[in-house]
């Protein structure tokens, strides 16, 4: 893994080649699903995951093509190779789904998440929070005499790490967007 913690596509063999030596290994995959932005499409995708017992670690959705009414759903899920293949095939057969990409295996990709952290405190702790925020390149988007709201973007791991550091310094509330991801290169 690189410094950015981009998961390199370990393999990109055929969708059906499930006799992988890692077949029983549970891995995390980031899927990009292009859908028609029609009523109920998100319910359809979520219903598929709950109905068939798949995990959702993170989910983001927004219309990315206003003229074509296309939305991009980014979903981070976990499962064995066989389960991930099944998830992709099940997503692929939903009528409003146009494309399903497994960014984790299709090649290098970048992943980013945005989070807001409210940290309350005074004195040493307040100074330390501000110092750490600077190291993590988090911005202060709101401040009172007793609190800050930090905005941070990065990989989910980076945001997790920031959360760990803020906890003893008076972390009150967190809002995270979930992962947005794109394949690298042209």
């Amino acid at each position: 893994m690189s410094a950015l913690k981009i998961k390199k596509g370990a393999s990109s063999h055929s969708a059906y080649d499930l006799r992988d030596p890692n077949a029983e290994v549970i891995g995390s995959h980031t899927l990009a699903v292009m859908v028609d932005n029609e009523a109920g499409v998100l319910a359809r995708v979520i219903g598929l995951f709950s109905g068939r017992g798949y995990n959702i670690e993170s989910l983001t959705v927004a219309e990315v093509d206003h003229e074509g009414h296309r939305s991009r759903i980014t979903v981070v899920t976990t499962g064995t190779a066989a389960v991930i293949e099944q998830i992709k095939a099940q997503l692929g057969r939903l009528v409003p789904v146009h494309e399903v990409h497994d960014l984790t295996v299709e090649g290098p990709s970048v992943e980013r998440e945005l989070a807001l952290f409210k940290v309350a405190g005074s004195g040493e702790k307040r100074v330390e929070a501000l110092r750490l925020a600077d190291i993590f390149r988090a911005n202060v988007v709101d401040s009172t005499l007793e609190s800050f709201v930090f905005e941070i973007t990065g990989t989910p791991e980076k945001i997790d790490a920031f959360a760990e550091l803020m906890r003893p310094l008076g972390l009150v509330d967190v809002a995270r967007t979930g992962v947005a991801a794109l394949a690298r290169g042209a």
């Binding site: 066989a82 293949e85 146009h98």
Partner: protein, 584 residues
């Protein structure tokens, strides 16, 4: 051909343009405008059902016996929720259904209006796709899309929810050819390289078997013809799931019978012992595989399926081929012929020798009686007395269903309709009406259990009203027979609520609806009684009193491998241990 019209009129116009000749439905407040349009035309026939579940099963029977989509029209709220079982049944068995539901007007949606239900929410997991149409100008386009989605790729039920104000409002009609259907175009051609790989295996295989399923039927009659051509040319044995019966003829020389939980000994052992399994349009259902790690352990497996999510879902296969069975068979035959029509003759001869050995077990034999009608005997007689005719069979769910699959022979596709995936008691009777509506002159028989049959018996009125001369052949064991069998084998013979208590007098019931009722309990009278049923020009309720405690064999208990099949009562003692008992 753009025209202004009301939404209600559009519905009828779109159905006509889709070639629909019959709709199964039930009116209510939220579909009154559509019913008003139906009243004012004569091209589309409306069959008034007695319960919306019946409407969907009728549409399924219609669809499965014609290859055309079945159409259902019901009202909002309870009309829609009553249709849910039928939609789920059609989803599990991949049957094309277009279901139109009324909805409260758009401005009332979300207010808990009278007869409001979140129909698209409720039916999302039990349809292939569904739509709520909020704009009249999109209605016709949506209906055309619905027919496209229901029938293309792996068929299935779709639903269009139409608020009442959308039915009243005026908009522009869209003709079928202008409809936006381009995006949903499932791939039908299989990958030639994979097909060639399969041919190479077929040329060498010593113990091949064709494992065929409902996909062959759904692919259309052409696929059945191609299957026959290929099986007969290669000499490979053919077995089929419950859903695929008739694709390869039961009278064909390569037919080795149905496989699965109540399949034939030779078919299941052929699956277990084969070295090449060619799955054509079947989906490795748990009724077929038994215990997964022991499923056909020594074979190379190829799987042809139009739905990529069916492939490698439960069984890992060596040669996955995504495509329509008919298209793939066509290419497969071409490639096989072009490479010199090779098969492993010696291997095949030995393999058939082995299969003939297995057949000697005569796994369907049972102890007949001259005092009481054995259900198997009743079906043998039914087969004998009806087999040459233009015959369609539907069934309910239970022991009688499995016996029907075992003892009736199907030589053509689309002649056998049974609830396979969902196992819906109450399916067979309405389905038989749907079949009869599509084939008014055919002999349509529902092989039923008394308990299942009662689940949708209200449709007797429908059969009377629309003069569908359906024959209800009830194998009445006064038991929820299949449940009783499992309780005997798995639950220490504690027969908890598996009695059919307080049964009606079926003959009187028949008469009450203007049907003919027949009761038969003596094996000696059976043939005459069956002939009476066949010859009667109208619906018949045939109450065939059969042995109450007969078990259905062969049986592969849940969680057991194919080669641990139970063949008769003697073999059942302690056969099923706790591990299998948790399985359905």
């Amino acid at each position: 051909m753009s025209r202004q019209m009301t939404g209600a009129k559009m519905v009828v116009q779109a159905l006509k343009d889709q070639g629909v000749d019959v709709v199964f439905g039930y009116p209510g407040g939220a579909v009154l405008p559509i019913y008003d349009e139906i009243f004012q035309q004569n091209d589309i026939r409306h069959i008034l059902v007695r319960h919306e579940q019946g409407a969907v099963h009728m549409a399924e029977g219609y669809a499965r016996s014609t290859g055309k989509p079945g159409v259902v029209l019901v009202t909002s709220g309870p009309g829609a929720t009553n249709a849910v079982t039928g939609l789920t049944d059609a989803l599990m068995d991949s049957i094309p259904i277009v279901c139109l539901t009324g909805q409260v007007p758009t401005f009332m949606i979300g207010t808990d209006g009278f007869q409001e239900a979140d129909t698209v929410g409720i039916t999302r997991p039990c349809t292939k796709h569904n739509w709520l149409v909020k704009d009249t100008s999109k209605l016709a386009d949506t209906i055309h899309q619905a027919f496209h989605v229901a029938t293309k790729g792996r068929p299935g039920p779709v639903l269009i929810d139409i608020p009442k104000d959308v039915q009243f409002a005026t908009g522009t009609y869209t003709a079928p050819r202008e409809a936006k259907v381009n995006h949903y175009q499932p791939k039908v051609k299989g990958d030639l390289a994979k097909i060639t790989e399969l041919v190479a295996l077929m040329e060498k295989a010593e113990r091949p078997v064709f494992y065929t399923g409902g996909g062959v039927i759904n692919s259309g009659p052409g696929a059945s013809l191609l299957l026959r051509e290929l099986a007969d040319a290669t000499g490979f044995p053919v077995t089929s799931t419950l859903m695929g019966l008739g694709a390869y003829p039961a009278s064909g020389k390569n037919w080795i019978g149905m496989l699965g939980m109540h399949g034939l000994y030779e078919a299941n052992l052929a699956m277990h012992g084969c070295d090449l399994m060619i799955n054509l349009g079947a989906r490795f259902d748990d009724r077929i595989t038994g215990r997964i790690p022991d499923f056909s352990p020594k074979s190379k497996k190829a799987h042809v399926d139009i739905d990529p999510s069916s492939i490698n879902k439960v069984i890992h296969v060596d040669i996955p081929i995504t495509g329509d069975v008919g298209h793939v068979l066509e290419d497969l035959i071409k490639v096989w012929k072009s490479r010199g029509r090779k098969v492993n003759k010696d291997g095949l001869a030995k393999w058939w020798g082995q299969i003939e050995q297995w057949k000697l077990k005569r796994c369907l034999s049972y102890k007949n009686s001259d005092k009481i009608i054995k259900p198997q005997y009743a079906l043998q007689r039914l087969e004998e007395l009806t087999k040459g005719r233009d015959r369609y069979i539907t069934t309910e769910v239970g022991q009688h269903q499995m016996w029907a699959a075992q003892f009736l022979g199907f030589d053509a596709p689309n002649r056998w309709m049974t609830s396979g995936g969902l196992g819906t008691m109450g399916y067979g009777f309405p389905a038989s009406i749907g079949v009869q509506v599509a084939h008014p002159d055919a002999l349509v028989i529902n092989v039923a259990g008394e308990a299942s049959w009662l689940m949708n018996m209200q449709e007797m009125g429908t059969a009377t009203q629309f003069r569908t001369p359906v024959k209800q052949f009830i194998l009445n064991n006064e038991r929820l027979g299949m449940v009783r069998q499992w309780q005997q084998l798995l639950h220490g013979e504690r027969y908890s609520h598996s009695w059919s208590e307080s049964l009606p007098d079926f003959v009187k019931l028949a008469e009450a609806f203007g049907w003919k009722g027949i009761q038969c309990k003596d094996p000696k009278d059976l043939d005459d009684a069956i002939m009476d049923m066949i010859d009667f020009d109208g619906p018949v309720l045939f109450d065939c009193l059969v042995e109450k405690h007969e078990n259905c064999f062969p049986m592969i208990p849940s969680g057991k491998p194919h080669n641990e099949m139970l063949l008769g009562d003697a073999s059942t003692e302690g056969a099923i241990q706790a591990g299998g008992a948790v399985l359905v």
